[in-house]
């Protein structure tokens, strides 16, 4: 098919031809075309199907408000559903397919819905499909769900990259039509930092689609001149292909820049789109206006368009949307379309003008006081039926009809802070209301100034006002001459004649009848209307249909439009790709990795790593020949208990706490006492929240009179630090305490087991005998001359130390420890073995430190000192947290050593019915203890302290296991703690 509807003129580059396909059919277009303009040039009107009735549809607009011409753009993993053909820039090789039609766009089996439309009224589904109850999920809903949706995703990973950015300006100008250009020019010349953003690839706004003159030149040329001047100003940033999608608090705007969407694939390394967060001191909305249709019977056929769009296709793209066109209007702007098309040599069949009086258009059949009452044509418009002023009807053959019901200012972004638009009677439209974003003003058509002169004048005026408020001096320049036609509109919302359907929201198939039904059923509030009929909830968010819908409701209720009210627009202005919002944070880059100092060494050993928060920790280190993880973990545990094991514990939080009040400060933040701790010693500390629940635990060492090193759990390192700063700044602001995190500054390894001291003494320059470095000792040391720290603390229950060096030497230290440990058959163990040993020892960790447990629950109730004020002390004494029958930490093992138990199982008394009343608590964590040769677990058991020695059941419904267990002390291993003091 040739470009049969291509006419002269337009801003396309005819020297170059782009080949593209739609539903496999090949076509040609030119640079500067959109997919819609190119298809129309090729005589293609049918581009989609509607959501509910599967009615054939073509574009009604030439912009981002398009509800009908949605296609799947590109193919494979790059397939983009619901893409508006009216804003998709043509590129060579573009592929598009139709959507929501089967087997083909021209013959769509689901169009049966259209035949059944009398049943499928608004909200019909609320009234049926209720019986039998099970049929909803099994029968009705699957059918509905299969039919749901418009376009399809391929389920393949999006191969493109996305980027984010932050931009700053004095003045953000949204929209580069006459008002926006004038505002940017005024501010730019005054030296202000300006960002001018426009969703179109070509700046100029409506000027590109009109034949107006500004000054003595074509509007489009004037715009190009201004753009060139702005581009030369270093303080002005021009962002075309950039949509401002949302107005957020305090001058922050979200913007989507379509960096590569006009290319077949993005250039290497370049993102497809960039999400900008724009920080603006002032902003001007110059986003123009959107034309609205007039509803009449069968007004949804391909070929029925907005009059301004018909004009835009002719003027900007050199396309006549039909070989014979008509115009239906209630205002003067519609007449412009007829004049422009006539001037371009297009056959204008008639202008149907609902108004009476006024001048008749020369050379055109101008029918005043007439209305279009119906249309005809299969898969596209063939004719319209017109009720003439004299009462007779006439059928006028035409393949395109331009409809103009007036223009709605694009107030959308001014509503993003939930400000309601206000009705302005003179232009019969809503304009921005009070209470919008504080730094935002509207100019031009967006503010209700619908003429070109009005746009230029208000653009300049709003820029001057913004500059003045910023203290930037600027002066008004003479405005160029431009059209200043008054708005001659006589509102007509829908044609009352006819029993058929007249569309308001074409994508969602909401018709005048649906609004009438909503009214009849008392869904008269605009919000109820929207929700009941789905008006304005399609992909265009009601840009064309919303005002029309509520005008119909206003007429039905007999209220004025402002009294009927309006819904408000919410972000985003136009839909935004999820990939753009996520930016670079996806896949492995979703969250940054944190690597431990031994990571390189462990990788060389083939260690298995596990995610712990953002850290990657060694989970276990398999040896050659080991086939299951249990083999490795058992070996690590047994070797540690038998001789010595090494574990990277760098991830535990470390906080350096100094100052003359450091000891007193720790007394306040820990429930036990620290001010009495001797220099060179450490102590286990329990930290409560103010509500008395356990917050965190760890050991804290006193390195000097005014110097402590606190450790926290890996999970809480950040929140504990934040909490300490809160205590220091907000609660006790005069305490002499200074805090700094040193978590990453030191590589720290646990060395545990009977031979731990022997191993370490080979490396440590000082005497670390029990006498010289007793249990819970802490101090600065040197290791083969290297500065380090040593803490004699144990999580495993063994004789154990934690040894630390500056992180850069962490790799060297693990290698030295392993080397020195060879004679002891030392192992390096991971988090699994660590977990086994801590449970064998009965230390609480993640499963028990769940934020829902008290010190008493953990068997640590005596640690809460009442002799001093500390966070959580008072509220931990509430009655509900001190019940004798409350949960207590216990140890659990299966009666039959071969029996298997699982964490998350619940305790039941033997013989008790399996029901809620028998629920005794749950197993918090479970491991296999190679030392004991059976599964062991910790658990919270009601009155557990009184049940030691008792037999119970551990029931897990999910794995269908029910195991007899013995309740034991949580200290499975060396309960007297002789080994760690050895």
């Amino acid at each position: 098919m040739s470009q049969s509807n291509r006419i002269a003129g337009g801003q396309i580059d005819r020297s170059q031809t782009f080949r593209f396909t739609f539903d496999g059919q090949a076509y040609a277009g030119h640079p500067g075309d959109t997919l819609a303009s190119a298809l129309l040039a090729n005589g293609v009107r049918l581009m989609g199907r509607s959501f509910k009735y599967h009615r054939p549809r073509g574009p009604i607009s030439a912009g981002s408000e398009e509800p009908n011409a949605l296609v799947q753009l590109r193919s494979g993993a790059r397939q983009e559903p619901n893409t508006r053909a009216t804003v998709a820039e043509l590129f060579d090789g573009l592929e598009a397919t139709s959507q929501n039609a089967w087997p083909s766009l021209k013959f769509d089996a689901m169009a049966i819905n259209d035949k059944l439309n009398t049943f499928f009224t608004a909200g019909f589904y609320y009234k049926t499909f209720m019986w039998p109850a099970a049929f909803w999920e099994k029968v009705y809903e699957p059918i509905i769900r299969r039919a749901a949706g418009l376009g399809a995703l391929t389920k393949a990973e999006d191969p493109d990259e996305y980027d984010k950015g932050f931009a700053h300006c004095d003045l953000l100008v949204i929209g580069a039509g006459p008002a926006g250009l004038m505002a940017a020019l005024t501010a730019g010349r005054a030296g202000a930092r300006v960002i001018l953003a426009d969703e179109d690839f070509r700046m100029g706004g409506r000027l590109n689609a009109e034949t107006f003159e500004i000054g003595a030149m074509a509007g489009a040329d004037w715009a190009a001149g201004i753009v060139a001047e702005l581009a030369a100003l270093p303080n002005v940033r021009l962002m075309n292909r950039t949509t401002i999608v949302g107005a957020f608090d305090h001058g922050i705007y979200g913007a989507v820049e379509r960096v590569s969407d006009h290319l077949a694939v993005p250039a290497a390394g370049k993102p497809r789109q960039t999400l900008w967060r724009i920080y603006s001191r002032r902003a001007i909305l110059a986003g123009g206006a959107t034309e609205r249709p007039i509803a009449f019977e069968n007004n949804d056929r391909p070929g029925v368009m907005l009059a301004g769009a018909l004009r835009a296709y002719a003027n900007r793209w050199g396309v006549a949307a039909g070989d014979r066109v008509a115009v239906f209007t209630n205002n003067d702007d519609g007449l412009r379309t007829a004049r422009d098309l006539q001037a371009k040599g297009v056959n204008v069949a008639a202008v149907i003008d609902s108004r009476q009086g006024g001048d008749l258009l020369p050379g055109i059949r101008h029918l005043q006081g007439a209305q279009v009452v119906d249309s005809a044509g299969r898969l596209g418009l063939a004719s319209v039926t017109v009720r003439l002023a004299n009462g007779r009807t006439d059928t006028i053959a035409c393949t395109a009809l331009g409809v103009s019901g007036g223009w709605n200012p694009n107030v959308n972004i001014t509503s993003h802070h939930r400000s309601r638009p206000e009705w302005r009677e003179e232009i019969a439209a809503f304009v921005p209301g009070a209470g919008g974003p504080a730094n935002l003003a509207a100019a031009g058509a967006a503010g209700g100034d619908l003429s070109t002169h009005g746009a230029l004048a208000s653009g300049q005026a709003q820029a001057l006002a913004a500059l003045e408020s910023l203290g930037i001096s600027a002066k008004a320049s003479d405005l160029p001459q431009a059209e200043d036609a008054p708005i001659a509109i006589s509102p007509l919302w829908f044609v009352h004649e006819g029993k058929g359907r007249a569309w308001i929201d074409p994508q969602n198939d909401v018709t005048v009848k649906d609004v009438k039904l909503a009214h009849k059923e008392n869904f008269t509030s605009v919000e109820h209307l929207k929700r009941y009929t789905t008006l304005g909830m399609a992909t265009d968010q009601g840009k064309t249909g919303n005002v029309l819908g509520l005008a119909v409701m206003a007429e039905l209720t007999g209220q004025s439009i402002p009294a009927t009210g309006t819904t408000i627009y919410r972000p985003p202005y136009t839909p935004v790709a999820m990939g753009t919002l996520a930016g670079r944070s996806r896949g492995k880059e979703f969250k940054p990795f944190r690597l431990t100092p031994s990571h390189k060494w462990a990788s060389e050993q083939g260690a298995v790593f596990v995610e712990v928060g953002n850290w990657l920790r060694t989970q276990w280190v398999p040896k050659l020949g080991e086939t299951t993880w249990r083999e490795s973990v058992d070996r690590e545990v047994l070797a540690t208990r038998k001789s010595v094991g090494i574990c990277d514990v760098t991830t535990l939080g470390k906080i350096d706490i100094q100052g003359t009040d450091a000891g007193a400060f720790l007394d306040r933040v820990y429930c036990n006492t620290f001010s009495t701790l001797a220099v060179g010693k450490c102590r286990y500390g329990l930290m409560l929240r103010e509500d008395g629940m356990v917050f965190d635990d760890g050991t804290t060492a006193r390195m000097g009179q005014n110097e402590f090193v606190m450790t926290t759990t890996t999970a809480n390192a950040v929140t504990v630090f934040r909490h300490l700063e809160y205590c220091r700044q907000c609660l006790w602001p005069d305490m002499d305490v200074q805090l700094i995190s040193t978590t990453e500054a030191w590589a720290q390894y646990s060395v545990a087991g009977p031979n731990a001291r022997k191993l370490l003494q080979k490396l440590v320059d000082q005497d670390i005998s029990d006498a010289a470095f007793p249990y819970m000792g802490a101090g600065n040391i040197t290791i083969q001359g290297q500065r380090g720290r040593l803490f004699r603390i144990s999580f495993s229950g063994e004789l154990a130390y934690e040894i630390a060096v500056p992180t850069r030497y962490g790799d060297a230290l693990i290698r030295k420890l392993v080397e020195a440990g060879k004679e002891f058959d030392a192992v390096v163990y991971g988090t699994e073995a660590l977990g086994v040993m801590r449970i064998e020892k009965g230390h609480v960790a993640g499963g028990e430190l769940n934020g829902q447990s008290t010190a008493l629950n953990m068997g640590l109730g005596k640690m809460v000192s009442k002799k001093k004020d500390a966070i959580g002390m008072v509220l931990s004494s509430r009655e509900g947290m001190n019940q004798p029958g409350g949960y207590r930490l216990v140890g659990v093992k299966p009666v039959d050593p071969k029996g298997s138990i699982s964490a998350g199982s619940h305790f039941m008394e033997i013989g008790a019915p399996v029901e809620l009343a028998s629920d005794g608590g749950w197993l918090t964590a479970k491991v296999y203890s190679p030392h004991l040769g059976c599964d062991i677990a910790l658990g919270y058991l009601k009155a557990g302290d009184q049940k030691i020695g008792r037999k119970m059941r551990a029931v897990n419904f999910l794995t269908k296991t029910d195991t007899e267990v013995e309740i034991v002390s949580p200290h499975f291993f060396d309960p007297e703690g002789e080994r760690l003091r050895g």
Binding site: E161, D163, K164, G165, F166, A167, H168, A268, G269, K270, P271, T274, R277, Y279, R584, S585, E589, K591, P592, F593, R594, L595, T596, K600, N614, W615, D656, Q658, G659, T660, D661, N706, E707, D734, M735, D736, Q738, I740, S741, T742, T743, E744, A745, W746, A747, Q784, G785, Q786, R787, V805, P806, T807, R808, Y809, G810, D811, A812, K816, E819, A820
Partner: protein, 187 residues
């Protein structure tokens, strides 16, 4: 066993890495020692005097100041990070402590951070994709914490063509990756 202590850089190599992408040069630095220096309560006068004697600048908020031996930037009220040459000040706390005594709390920070010096023309275009700081209008010597790719990073603007970053050492590779990807996307 040799008493050798082989140091790894934050990126996990024996020597600091340098990456060049278009006009940008991203250089890891492992030759700078770093310590936090915090004023103890009520010691303002003696602290200031000690700093002067020791030659430690105490720049105002959001500022970095160079010095003969020690440079410093402000991090938080009454706290600075002090920089010195690693070769001569590896134990930077020991170097500062005698001067400040009990007037300050001093903590080693050297290996808590990875330092990247990023230089070249067009740094604004690079950093506006990474950080919300308005690098174009910030004065030379500006220093502030900011967020880059979910990471808390100190950014110091030395000049329009030279910026220093201190990011969390454990995420050094992730931070470099972000810098590289972004540099490739803006050139």
């Amino acid at each position: 066993m040799a008493n050798q202590w082989n140091a790894l850089t934050a990126l996990g190599h024996d020597t600091a890495e340098v990456v060049e992408i278009g006009p940008y040069r991203i250089a890891e630095r492992s030759d700078v020692a770093l310590a936090s220096l915090a004023l103890r309560r009520g010691q303002d006068k003696d602290f200031a005097a000690a700093a002067k004697t020791a030659g430690v600048p105490l720049p105002a908020a959001s500022t970095h100041a160079g010095g003969q031996v020690f440079s410093a930037f402000w991090t938080t009220p009454e706290m600075w990070f002090v920089e010195a040459d690693f070769a001569t000040h590896e134990d930077i706390v020991a170097a500062l402590k005698p001067a400040f005594g009990e007037t300050a709390s001093i903590t080693e920070q050297t290996d808590a951070w990875v330092r990247f010096d990023v230089s070249g023309a067009g740094l604004v275009a690079l950093f506006e994709r990474l950080s919300n700081l308005d690098l174009a209008t910030l004065p030379d010597g500006y220093a502030s914490r900011t967020v880059i790719e979910h990471l808390g990073v100190y950014l110091i603007r030395h000049s329009a063509a030279s910026v220093t970053l201190y990011g969390p050492r454990s995420s050094a590779q992730g931070l470099l990756h972000a810098l590289e990807v972004t540099a490739k996307s803006v050139i």
